[in-house]
Symmetry: C2
Subunit: 394 residues, 2 copies
């Protein structure tokens, strides 16, 4: 986030562009409109909380990517991306959230200017930041263009991490270790949940003596007691109580790279079923880590995990993990591979995933997870080092 | 966010539904698919960080709204919404981020089940959480349906706040006052920006002795020095330096209701142009507040503000504010009215807006803003009470 200094070397950005163009060619796409802010940042370095208005990075058949957005954010693009002045374009500010004008009318104009009005154009059709209206507008404005669904085309290129990306993710791991340590240090009966969450943010943002923390793409999910039976509750201001478990689904973040890690804490005597579930989940997690090797598939990791659970009589379905790395709200996942039965994605060295076994019964939830790197050989490496056992407080 | 207790009375939710149905009728819409999480929450009480997967609230011609999403989030819907069991529906978990299946195939099935396969269906076409793929899938699955753009249809119903909503926004105002006080207390040369941001979060989350804070829909925007010339930079871990200004665009949040408030701080001797700009902006802000009365338009407020700036020789364009209230990431605005020249939206008592004069030159940025309530008569009321003057630290 340091102004004028991009997060990665120019060579690395060029390599990313080359990989992306190869994938475009393979998909028969001539021009790619990239709207996922994680992809925009990965391709150009651009960083800023501007994704609440329409913006994009356009990949043409040749030349630099073109950043496109609001004029005031073009200033940020000059500061955070490697792009030259000519590659930073903007639309007038009165197009922002205006019901009679749409920025994609001007995106179409830009594509016409680049001679691409009849191109085969890839768009991220199932991305948060490419609305139905964007596509409708492009279709109307560029009747001769053909549109292809390029959802996750760039995301897939992000799957294998570079050395520099792994440095960032390991820093995020150091940060999330401190966040969980803080929870262990301060959680006690009577502490209002919002105060505990303030402590988690404090640890995550201060980071270490060497580097500071960034905001994670998801806020801490920290439900207690019966609320923890729901997966995505945030927090309230009620105090922690005896006889309740709380899970902490949180991530360390360094320069937009995430290391998510979940742990569960119980105040009082945990119910026998929770301890039984933990035993099964920890054994299943170990089994999954052992299978998470190059050449195996995501589905095989999930199978190994669920097989242990079934053997132990614990019912669980759904997915148990997903790829992670650079991200912006609302999701820290890469939305490509999932650790779930049937996913045939083949694991390769330096892929990174959040292996996320969670159990939600009618009465409580229990989570323990690891962010893993696929090693060159052998079982996956866990990036963070935090005891997996349920934290029990008196 | 307290489980099983909704944020508002059942009567208030019913009134909201009635208003929404009236707007649907006026727009010729029989069925409305609501995907904006702020609208989903406003209509049903539903709260959770689950908007990174497809989910919706469906308003049929009669009966309760129907919540629809992932099974694990249906648990959260039971806890946070007023809806009965029959009105909480879900799609199988393996539809999540699956490239061969799409949840909207099952949304279509749901609409068929409700006998609405030929209805005139309103969708939020320009919303973050209604992707191009959602519309494509619906069109394919429901060839006899007609689709209408219902972007902001519900958002407009939210413009005038109820007494209970104003209580929440005043609580958010108490919180943002504390956030700015904390900045004034701790900012000093050498303090790394990420530590300052940790303090801002701490004040925002701990709130007051009576109530705790929620996460704001935008993280603190806190750029310093030349970075503050860009509007939407977040933070890094460099220390505060003498001879640099920093603006703080932050919001207090209580149960998803926001009170944004921006202020600027300078360490050292502020440049004369910044002091000159401040004088103009403060006079313009006062002029705008005076015009922000029932019966006047948003455009007239902006005109009053820009007229003062022009008189003072300060160049500024773009919008200078927008409606605020309940919100989820990535934007705390309501995306309806804008305080900008030409906006003909008529102000009414208990509308709430973020009046946000910001100035970004090539070298620095300066922001001072107020969250206002349109009074029954007379000038707008500022919800928070924080000195507007540039904070100057030695």
């Amino acid at each position: 986030m340091t102004a004028t200094v991009t997060a990665f070397s120019l060579a690395e950005y060029q390599e990313r562009l080359t990989k992306t163009r190869a994938a475009m060619t393979k998909a028969g796409i001539e021009v790619l409109i990239v709207t996922d802010p994680s992809n925009m940042s990965w391709l150009t370095g651009y960083d800023g909380w501007s994704f609440y208005v329409h913006q994009a990075v356009v990949i043409l058949p040749e030349g630099e990517p073109v950043w496109w957005g609001r004029p005031m954010d073009g200033v940020g693009a000059r500061m955070t991306s490697y792009l030259s002045e000519d590659s930073i374009r903007s639309y007038p500010d009165h197009y922002v959230q205006n019901f009679t004008l749409h920025p994609y009318q001007l995106m179409a104009e830009l594509l016409r200017e680049f001679g691409q009005s009849s191109a085969r154009i890839g768009v991220e059709m199932d991305n948060y930041y490419f609305s139905a209206k964007c596509l409708e507008t492009l279709r109307q404005e560029l009747p001769n263009a053909r549109f292809a669904d390029a959802t996750a085309l760039v995301n897939w290129q992000r799957a294998v991490k570079s050395e520099q990306e792994l440095i960032f993710m390991r820093r995020a791991a150091r940060i999330v270790e401190r966040m969980h340590q803080r929870v262990r240090d301060v959680a006690e009966i009577g502490l209002p949940k919002n105060h505990l969450v303030a402590e988690i943010f404090d640890a995550g943002l201060r980071g270490t003596d060497e580097f500071g923390g960034d905001y994670a793409a998801i806020v801490p999910l920290t439900p207690s007691g019966p609320d923890s039976a729901a997966a995505h509750m945030t927090w309230d201001d009620r105090p922690l109580r005896r006889g309740e478990g709380t899970f902490f689904e949180i991530a360390g973040c360094y320069r937009r790279y995430h290391c998510p890690l979940s742990r569960t804490l119980y105040i009082g005597e945990p119910p026998a079923e929770m301890m039984h579930a933990q035993e099964a989940v920890l054994e299943g997690l170990a089994a999954g880590l052992d299978v998470a090797r190059p050449g195996n598939t995501c589905g095989e990791v999930a199978d190994a995990f669920f097989a242990v659970l079934r053997k132990r009589g614990v019912e669980k379905n759904g997915r148990t993990g997903y790829a992670v790395g650079i991200s912006y709200p609302p999701d820290w996942g890469e939305r490509t591979m999932s650790l779930r039965p049937g996913d045939k994605s083949v694991l390769m060295p330096n892929m990174t995933l959040h292996f996320m076994p969670g159990l939600w019964t009618d009465d409580w939830g229990y989570e323990v997870s690891e962010t893993i790197r696929i090693a060159d050989s052998g079982p996956a490496e866990c990036l963070a080092d935090v005891s997996r056992e349920l934290v029990i407080k008196p």
